[in-house]
């Protein structure tokens, strides 16, 4: 079986700064993996290269064996890579329903219709509602996205990605800015979505309860390089990781 995602010697520099330094790893279908590392380690930059927002300087990105490095975000999305952002990336002046429905219509190739009203597209509407329901947002469907609470906006961002039915879903700090209670709910929710939608899931996270609670595998980035890759148990006892996080004296 081909790996869902394979990175081979991925490189990226901003000026003289190496933000991605020869990163290689494989993710198998339906794995759930976390990427951790100190601020500025190059985690989001890595996501940006996988999703086509940035072109790598060198190396390869394979999605199910097919090279996707350097393709546009639109192409990569259509090949099955979904993404949610560190700062919720939503359409603030549309309803929660239309946020998800717009994405769904994009997937169903319905965005060129310029006569029939959006509400009359039953399939897109049903799918959008189903996704909102699986996120617990169905009661917010008719509210404007900007009116939603911060945590709900983060979930809506995930909903926009989910409705595209991605094979591979990348979440960038899904619990950032949430209260401890929201974090716990979101942690359970993401694990549930992963199982329900049979996703291959990679998430960046600083919340260690979430990382060690739901990831089967943890990758650690520091200064752009992958310094550790293993099960939660292995990472917990890895000297290099402890040094990267806590400094030399630890």
């Amino acid at each position: 079986m081909k790996p869902m995602l394979r990175l081979e010697g991925l490189r990226k520099s901003f000026g003289g700064l190496r933000v991605t330094d020869e990163v290689s790893f494989e993710i198998q279908p339906q794995e759930i993996a976390a990427i951790i590392g100190p601020n500025g380690a190059g985690k989001t930059t890595l996501f940006n290269q996988i999703t086509g927002y940035l072109a790598p300087d060198g190396g390869h990105v394979f999605l199910e064996g097919q090279e996707i490095a350097g393709l546009t975000p639109q192409k990569i999305v259509k090949m099955g890579v979904g993404r949610a952002f560190q700062i919720a990336s939503i359409f603030p002046d549309e309803t929660a329903l239309d946020n998800v429905r717009a994405a769904c219509m994009s997937k169903l190739n319905q965005t060129r219709h310029l006569w029939r009203p959006v509400e009359r597209f039953n399939r897109a509407t049903e799918q959008a509602f189903a996704v909102l329901a699986s996120l617990g947002l169905e009661r917010q469907a008719d509210r404007m996205a900007y009116e939603l609470a911060h945590g709900d906006q983060k979930l809506l961002d995930i909903g926009i990605a989910l409705v595209l039915e991605p094979k591979l879903l990348l979440l960038d700090e899904p619990t950032a800015g949430m209260s401890p209670e929201e974090r716990q709910l979101t942690r359970q929710l993401i694990k549930q979505l992963w199982a329900q939608y049979k996703l291959t899931l990679i998430f960046i996270e600083h919340d260690m309860d979430m990382v060690f609670g739901i990831a089967e595998r943890i990758m650690v980035l520091n200064h752009g390089a992958l310094i550790a890759d293993g099960t939660p148990g292995e990472i917990r006892n890895n000297k290099e990781v402890i040094t990267a996080y806590l400094g030399e004296e630890a």
Binding site: P73, E94, R101, A102, S106, H113, R116, P117, V118
Partner: protein, 327 residues
């Protein structure tokens, strides 16, 4: 909820149509019918322009170019090829506008924000200069006079109803478009272009599409204007013409579909009333518009909607918010 707002819209729509249809019956002078034609045509032009600005977030300062193409297509064909070309010149003008907006669109959508605005202005001013200087072909500063619509359209009242029907059908089409999936994607392009790419759609492609559509309707408005005034002039291509639809949109409210149309009604009536009283009308008009914009930053229609929204929230307060959204 959706059906009652749809019903209200249908009612407003019918009232508007009937009101305009009654103008020739109730008018006390032919001049009022001329004024109503101007309102209808500028209303269409402004609504089409606002599909770019208010909906998609592309502030074009050069839509006069396409307005001018619609008008000059008729003027030039009638002048150089004969009166029989009046009606065929309308679709020819629309196709010319579509092709030119496609080609220019490929250039201007490469940049965004103020650069887009300046580039569209530059192209329109270029076209104005050519029209102005090329006296032998375009009539230059004299424009082209005495262009009479053929057949029964030469009758002013018939022509008025022709304008009314074309404008209402066009605005209806644009309204449908605004609330279609394509319209939704355009609003998404304005609000978060980056996210649009990550749901698998091209921002530039959608910008190009609406640029062409908006420009074709600008050309249609320009071609309708010919039969109202029976003459065309280089001013139709001048930057002030582009500025006028921007002003109408601001006055009426750029975030409301009918805002620009209401803005056209207000601006044209103001111009007419003040213009009749004083030769210094631009000073007074400018002052009034300034006060309008300060008092109603969301535009007239926008402020009315805002007020209704606040009243609705006040009426619903007490937690009903959570439960009514079941679809």
């Amino acid at each position: 909820m959706a059906s009652s707002s749809k019903y209200k819209f249908g009612l407003l729509w019918s009232v508007g149509f009937v009101a305009f249809a009654l103008v020739p019956v109730l008018m006390t002078s032919r001049y009022q019918m001329n004024l109503a034609s101007h309102i209808l045509i500028w209303g269409l032009f402004a609504v089409a322009f606002n599909m770019l600005w208010g909906v998609t977030g592309m502030l074009s300062f050069g839509q006069a170019l396409y307005f001018g193409i619609g008008a000059y297509s008729i003027g030039l064909f009638v002048n150089h090829a004969g009166k029989a070309w009046y009606l065929p010149a309308i679709p020819i003008g629309l196709v010319a506008a579509a092709m030119l907006s496609f080609l220019l669109g490929l250039l201007v959508i490469r940049v965004s924000g103020v650069y887009f605005t300046m580039l569209t202005l530059a192209f329109a001013q270029l076209a104005w200069q050519v029209t102005f200087k090329w006296y032998d072909f375009t009539g230059g500063d004299d424009g082209i006079q005495g262009i009479i619509a053929p057949g029964i359209l030469a009758n002013k009242m018939v022509y008025y109803y022709f304008v009314l029907v074309v404008v209402f059908i066009s605005v209806w089409f644009l309204k449908r478009l605004a609330y279609s999936p394509f319209g939704l994607i355009l609003r998404c392009v304005q609000q978060n272009p980056n996210r649009v790419r990550f749901i698998g759609r091209s921002v530039k492609m959608n910008q190009l599409r609406i640029y062409v559509i908006s420009s074709v309707f600008a050309a249609l408005a320009g071609s309708l204007m010919v039969g109202v005034d029976n003459s065309i002039h280089t001013d139709m291509l001048f930057w002030t013409t582009s500025g006028e639809v921007i002003l109408m949109s601001v006055l009426g409210g750029i975030n409301q579909f009918f805002g620009p149309f209401v803005g056209a009604v207000i601006l044209i009536l103001l111009e007419d009333i003040i213009g009749a009283k004083t030769e210094f009308w631009p000073i007074f008009l400018g002052t009034i518009v300034l006060i309008f914009v300060i008092l109603f930053p969301k535009g007239v229609v926008g402020e009315i909607q805002h007020l209704r929204h606040r009243l609705k929230i006040a009426g619903e307060s007490g937690g009903r918010h959570e439960t009514h959204a079941s679809a």
